[in-house]
Subunit: 159 residues, 2 copies
Amino acid sequence: MPAPASSSPVPADFPATTASALIAAHGGRVTRTRVAVIEALQGAAHPLSHDEVGVALTDAGIAHDRVTLYRALEWLVDKDIAQRIAASERAWRFEIRRGGEHRHAHFHCDRCGQVLCLEDVPSDSKPALPAGFELDRSELVLHGACADCGRRGLKMEAR
Amino acid sequence: MPAPASSSPVPADFPATTASALIAAHGGRVTRTRVAVIEALQGAAHPLSHDEVGVALTDAGIAHDRVTLYRALEWLVDKDIAQRIAASERAWRFEIRRGGEHRHAHFHCDRCGQVLCLEDVPSDSKPALPAGFELDRSELVLHGACADCGRRGLKMEAR
DNA sequence: AGTTTTGATGCAACATTGTAGCATTTGAAA
DNA sequence: TTTCAAATGCTACAATGTTGCATCAAAACT
Ligand SMILES: [Mn+2]
Ligand SMILES: [Mn+2]
Ligand SMILES: [Zn+2]
Ligand SMILES: [Zn+2]
């Protein structure tokens, strides 16, 4: 089912939801890679690592290069379409930033390394900072053991 | 002023403060490297990267190997003498864990990469987690621009 | 003080994660 | 269709950690 071909300039401030609309709205070129990356992030139930996105692209039959993928993700973050999460593993994780949604905390299982979105735990503390400091955003990451891993049991299946 | 030489078994549960006492209290061997690392962390005004600790050791005239340093830091974290902070730079940072102190948040300047301890911003939220999850600790990192960098001005002197 | 034990170190090699430079391709505007 | 900057795909490279293993030395034991 081919969508109405071409035209229809996207209203730039309307919360676009399709990948191509999002890209175009930010003045970027709509490429297969970018579209696929966005769709991978949109379809994910939790923040994806660079590598996981890569797998998703492969699964979708989209050839891709490691570097291109890094650059695509970087661009998305830059445009605020996606955000990076440093959950204390070595690798960053990425998730789509749905318009209007407020920031939420994440849970990092120190056992299996999984990262979970805690949609209803806000991450927006705005404490008083030393003079001259300007706050951009706050990132709250909880650490512990996920249900699958259970607190008791072995130690350290992953950092 | 040489401390009373030798002897005096350290009361293992008293909050030891000297490096050697800390190490011994955790059943580790008191080595020059470990002592120097702890003292570097204790003397630091902010969390140090592996590399910064290395410089401190060099300054203190302590020869050291990259790997040994990593392992020393790992051991300290393992024993809960120090803690790791993932402030979203590539490299971890380490800080001493002073007994009884509650966890505090950190500020990461997205401009210059500096990390600052926000001693009076607690980082101890204990929100409700999905069933089966167990919380160990929570890490709160604020992002923005430090006073030196100022919000306005150039972009991206460091990630 | 000498011996022994085993934790800690040093070195080399490797792994992971991300960047930079540059020639080539391609999206999309003209 | 043509044009041309933006994206891509290499290839190198940088930064940060890790593994294996032979050697050293802290501290316990005699
Ligand atoms: Mn999330
Ligand atoms: Mn701190
Ligand atoms: Zn887990
Ligand atoms: Zn700064």
